[in-house]
Structure formats: C-alpha cells, structure tokens
C-alpha cells in the first residue's frame, strides 16, 4: 500500500505475515540442518555379506539346515545338504557376487567336507592381506551340530567369504 508521498508501507497484519514467513523458513532451515547432521552418516557394511551368508546357510532348510517332517532346526547341518549344487540353488549368488568357502569339521577339528562357491572370486582371498587388493575378506567359525543317519554330532563350520570392493 502506498501513502500520499508514494512510499510503500505495510499494515500490522502484512508485517506479521512477513515475520511469520521468515520464521517458517528459519525453522525449515534448522530442520534440514538437524536432519543432515544426524542422518547423513555412512554405515560400514563390511561383514554384512558374511552375516547374510551365514544366516542363509544355517537358517534355511533349503540350504544346510536340517529339517524333519515337522520343522527345520536352524544351526543343525544336514550332511545330505552339504553339496555345491544345493548351496548354489539356495543362495542364488551370481558369478559376479560373493565367493566363499564352507568347511565342516568334526568335534576334533578333522575336516569332513569342503565346498567352494564362485571359486574365481574365492581364490582372490589369498591376496586380501595386500593393501592394493580389490577384494575384502572375512571369516567366521561357528559351533554347529550336524546330522548323519539320524544321529547328531557336534562340529564346527568355518566360513570364509571374499567380496569385491565397490
């Protein structure tokens, strides 16, 4: 609104609107700042590959987990399932994904069986100690029971995984 001299002046209400709009913009700015400060942080994902692999292997009856007519038993390895074809089918890893080796030992650490999936990636694990290596390696050893002819025995599952660094 202009007065007689041509200057623009604002009524109280219009002035309030301007103040409120600035306040709203300020609050939005603070919100965006807080959001980025707290939420924009990196999460290290190394180890997740092995974790997902271990859980897939030990929890799924389509993988290594023993199951009877009633239920499956996560953590108990069915020796009949311990073969390459079964694991390739249950995990469906493509050739460009993860290379890993699974070795089953008895209670006295004698090797019972050994499987390698995606061998061309898994062999790169030999170079993992090198700082220039394009692969990251992780390994886990788990205490398991295994079933053989309806008897349960204690054993250990050694899982070593090699993943290409992104």
């Amino acid at each position: 609104m202009r007065n007689k001299k041509g200057f623009i002046f604002l009524t109280d209400e219009q002035l309030n609107i301007v103040i409120y709009v600035f306040l709203i913009l300020f609050v939005f700015g603070v919100l965006i700042f807080i959001s980025t400060f707290y939420m924009d942080r990196g999460v290290e994902l190394s180890g997740l590959d092995t974790h997902l692999l271990v859980n897939g292997l030990l929890y799924s009856p389509d993988c290594l987990s023993y199951s009877d007519e009633v239920r499956s038993y996560p953590g108990i390895v069915d020796l009949d399932n311990f073969n390459e074809n079964k694991i390739i089918k249950c995990l469906s890893y493509g050739s460009g994904g993860l290379g890993f080796g699974v070795e089953l030992y008895d209670s006295e650490m004698n090797s019972l069986d050994n499987i390698e999936i995606n061998s061309e990636i898994f062999v790169q694990g030999l170079l993992c100690d090198l700082k220039t290596s394009k692969y990251s390696c992780s390994s886990k050893k788990l205490y398991v029971l295994y079933e053989n002819n309806s008897e349960f025995y204690s054993g250990y599952l050694n899982i070593r995984a090699v993943a290409r660094n992104e």
């Binding site: 219009q14 609050v27 707290y38 997740l48 390994s139």
Partner: protein, 193 residues
C-alpha cells in the same frame, strides 16, 4: 489486499506456523532418540548381527549330545549338556562340574577363531557363565568356563568383551554366552586364510 483476505491469510499462516513448530518439536524429540543410537551405530549393528549367530551357537552348545556314566552303574547314558547343567545346578557335585567344565572348555577352545578388523588381527574368544541373575558378574562366580584366549588384555590393558546371548534353563537359571575380541600379540598375527 482487502482486510478480510489479509485476516484469512494471517490465520492460515498462524496455523501453518503452529504446525511447523509441533513438527519441529516432534522431530527434535525423535532426533534425540536417534542420537543415542547413532553414536554407536556401527558397533550396535555389528553386535546385533553377531547375536543371531551366537544364539545358534549357544543353542547348539546346550543341545550338544554327550555320553557319560551319570549314575555310576558302569553304563554310559546319552544326554545333552543342558540336562547335565540342570542336574549340576541341583546336585552341585564336583564330578558333574568337572565333566561340564572339560566338555565346555573343549568346545569353547575350538570355537575360537581369528578375525581381521581394519588391518589388526583379533582372536574371538568365548565364555559360558551359569547364573541365577543376569545382573550378576561372571567375575564373582565359580560357574564360569572360558576358552584359552577369552578376554586377553590388549596393549591398553582392556578386555574387549560383551554379553552376547543367554538362554534360561531350569527355573530361573541362565546360561550366558560371553564373547571377546583380543588383539593377537604374536608378530605373525593369527590370520588363517
């Protein structure tokens, strides 16, 4: 702009302003709860991941089949470690404790393995603690069985250990699995790739 339109707009802006203030307040409250977790985001993620695996290990430990002559009649009975522990908690006999101790130590020692975290070699060790309360510390108890490298102190004299998982057995008794990461002091490291 006539007065009615201005008043209407002023009311709208007022409502919007109050809404934004409420939203800000709720987001800040939400942020503060996220902040508690965000400081240990990676560690907690790793811990949660390990829990499901250690849960399986603890369950397998408890259902480990074992053949021993419990009643001394010269014949071995087939049982599990959890059954032995239950009997031991009632009897408190030294013989059962010895059997549980030797079986458990053998299992825990074989469970140890080497892991690499950011160019350092660590040895994962384990300990089993039998307790009637989760608030009790393993250091005050004689019902603790540990692997050889469990909680070896690092160069800062720190033992990196944590309660990994537990299961309730026999009434109010718990079997608690502890895990530790010890820096490997040997210059050759412990990488077993």
């Amino acid at each position: 702009m006539n007065r009615t339109a201005t008043t209407l707009m002023l009311r709208l802006v007022n409502i919007l302003f109050v809404g934004v203030l409420l939203l800000t307040f709720s987001m800040i409250m939400g942020m503060s709860s996220i902040k508690d977790g965000s400081t240990t985001e990676l560690i907690r993620l790793e811990g949660e991941l390990g829990n499901s695996e250690d849960n399986l290990q603890l369950l397998n430990y408890l259902r480990t089949p074992i053949s021993i002559d419990i009643d001394g009649d010269g014949f071995e009975d087939k049982t599990t470690i959890s059954s032995l522990i239950e009997v031991y908690l009632v009897d408190n006999s030294d013989r059962l404790k010895e059997i549980i101790s030797s079986s458990t130590n053998e299992i825990l020692n074989n469970m140890e393995y080497c892991k690499i975290i950011r160019d350092n070699d660590y040895r994962r060790g384990y300990s089993i603690f039998l307790t009637d309360s989760l608030d009790k510390s393993p250091t005050d108890s004689n019902k603790v069985f540990s692997s050889n490298n469990y909680c070896k102190e690092n160069n800062l004299n720190l033992c990196l250990n944590w309660r990994s998982n537990y299961q309730m057995i026999y009434g109010d008794f718990y079997v608690v699995l502890y895990a530790s990461d010890s820096i490997y002091f040997d210059e050759e490291g412990c990488s077993e790739w």
